[in-house]
Symmetry: C2
Subunit: 396 residues, 2 copies
């Protein structure tokens, strides 16, 4: 790369225009035969092949990872993944709890706009199933406020507080929220990369073991291994439809729930989506397909409300009435979401863009949303301490 | 901030022009009364005060941290530090082993150039002394290649291999390298923020306990707590001399030493400095004052050679002959370096810019380098897996 002076052409028209040149994803699930770096390299190689770019053109690598240093004592992943790919590039790791993947994408975009890189590989990867559930659960609490850790609560408990507050505020029953994982499992059953490829029904959700009342086992996304990657650049991808990132935005909030003004909305999601919509010059009504952060069923409800897809207190209605299902007006989480596709923490935010890119290229097979032109990805860290939204558009 | 469209003015003249508006630093050392977040907030508040900027103008926070998730099970520091400061801003954590601080600065610069932020707070923080040395040493090995961890070697051992190879290649004695920590302790004795404020002599270095032959205790930087912060922006700081970042560059290499072509040079440092010099339009001869990564004595020698301040095999001569000492031709590590100022991992790369900014403002008291106009910061991750260089210039 020429580092001497900066490129201006990409923002010459005042609009963001970042091309998603290639996408790649490992299967999500219990992948005991592959290490964290194996997974990152596999997804990266697929994305680079898909981009039609020579691997030598990649001049920056951004790795999203949360748990490597806690679970596997492996930090320095920017350098390790870059070396694992056998390329000369600048590598860096980015972390923001479960939003690490989305933040890594944003960091990659900033590298492109600032001209410090011309082709950026962004890969989110996580290895979680080699360890006891206790150990992984403890590591995940690193996303919370330290006081919450000392209190002994875990993430299902924190999201249970949110779910309970929501149900009481709007008079919603748990059976009404159960349609969300049912939908996402139906989508996941069509995704060969998904952790869970079976369908479930509302009765199964309600009869599944209670994890933290009112959250049942089948309201919870799983602990998964996996990686997802995208190659970002400025030029066009050769062959097939091009997909561009036309807007992104980040929001942050108090991390500890005790410090929040409200338990039933995520201010970070509101802010992130507001910025992203403004940058992209589109509105919720323009979005054809979405991936949102359904770590627990309530997550999908709040995402729909906080980003303006429904009025407050009514997200559960559209999440459950079929309009978010494949074939509905605006399908949500066609990948299966975090619930059924799986939730290898930092891979999630990148996988959302992989799924949307396939949708906007029109090559998503049995999960294709016909005529999808504009997509939105919504990725959350902690219980809404961080949120990041990307908006994608298909083009020529 | 206006997120709709991007600013172009900063690179209108094709040159980087990032202002260091404010700097802050906690004392480095064993700070048992303060948490990781306490330290990050303390340094940040000092930097914001120093910048004359209203805290409300900070619209992005980049936190450099390596060990929080391993030692203290605390991830998600971008959101936590932002909330700890009580501001509405986008927070993200960046990690690249001991180069995390420098990478966080680079990420902040990219946010400014890309227009996603107008005032960026970058803070590097680490809390290392609340734990057993064994536990901290193990966590630090997260910066290495996994195979090196399995072999049971630690960082003093890895740097001992480098030191031994260098001594044998160039016929250098350990007494000749010992002058480096002696110089850095002399500088540190003048720095009220330094972990070690006492001077040492060559005999003390040579008689100190052998850690990993030929490295003695007094060749090693310590395990420290501490934080350092800078406020970056585009406008001018009110009052006093302005300091700008005019170039930066990153290099990466194989992380494991077994995969390197050479043990006695860091390709990452060569590449990082080449990019930074090119962007800044300056050469080694133009640099008046430097902070380099002297985690072990050999680190300072390689830094001088790899960045072109001496011929290969002669870095130890200039490091020891007085020209790198305060009062010499080009003082190196006037803060005391990692050796005497201390090495709270991710704080180090940011502290280097704090020290240089004070030098270039001409307000560095007993450590002032008279007439210093251009400074260089050199920060390394692992045993040269990552390197990042920033070049600063004083201006009006």
């Amino acid at each position: 790369m020429e580092n001497n002076g900066f490129e201006k052409k990409i923002n010459g028209n005042g609009k963001l225009d970042i091309r998603i040149l290639g996408v790649g994803q490992t299967r999500f699930g219990e992948l005991w035969g592959a290490s964290l770096i194996d997974l990152a390299v596999e997804a990266s190689r697929e994305a680079i092949r898909d981009s039609g770019t020579s691997i030598k053109e990649i001049d920056a690598v951004v790795v999203g990872n949360m748990l490597g240093s806690h679970l596997d004592n492996q930090s320095h992943l920017g350098a390790l993944v870059t070396a694992g790919l056998g390329i000369k590039a600048s590598g860096v790791r980015v972390e923001g709890a479960c939003a690490s993947g989305g933040l890594a994408i944003a960091t990659g975009i900033e590298k492109l706009i600032s001209g410090t890189a011309r082709k950026v590989l962004v890969v989110g990867a996580e290895k979680m199933t080699d360890y006891s559930t206790d150990f992984s659960t403890q590591a995940l609490m690193g996303a919370s406020d330290g006081d919450e850790q000392l209190a002994g609560i875990t993430f299902p408990g924190l999201y249970a507080l949110v779910t309970r507050a929501y149900m009481e505020e709007y008079g919603v029953a748990d059976s009404e929220l159960a349609s969300i994982p049912v939908k996402n499992h139906m989508h996941g059953s069509l995704n060969p990369k998904a952790h869970f490829r079976f369908t479930i029904d509302v009765e199964q959700v309600l009869k599944s073991p209670c994890i933290a009342s009112p959250i049942k086992l089948l309201d919870c996304s799983p602990i998964s291994d996996g990686a997802a990657a995208v190659v970002l650049g400025l030029g066009k991808r050769r062959g097939g439809r091009n997909v561009r990132i036309i807007g992104f935005g980040q929001g942050n909030d108090e991390v500890g729930l005790a410090s929040r003004r409200s338990l039933i909305e995520f201010g970070a999601s509101k802010e992130a989506s507001k910025k992203a919509f403004s940058m992209a010059g589109v509105e919720p009504k323009d979005i054809d397909v979405m991936e949102v952060h359904d770590c627990f069923s309530i997550g999908e409800v709040l995402a729909l409300e906080d980003m303006g897809f429904s009025r407050k207190g009514e997200g559960w209605v559209i999440a459950g009435n079929g309009e978010c299902k494949l074939g509905g007006r605006r399908p949500v989480n066609t990948s299966g979401g975090l619930k059924a596709c799986g939730h290898p923490i930092s891979a999630t935010g990148v996988k959302q863009l992989v799924e949307l890119t396939r949708q906007l290229r029109g090559v998503n097979g049995s999960r294709q949303v016909e005529g999808a032109r504009i997509g939105l990805a919504h990725n959350v860290g902690g219980v809404g301490g961080t949120a990041i939204v990307h908006i994608l558009e298909s083009g020529i």
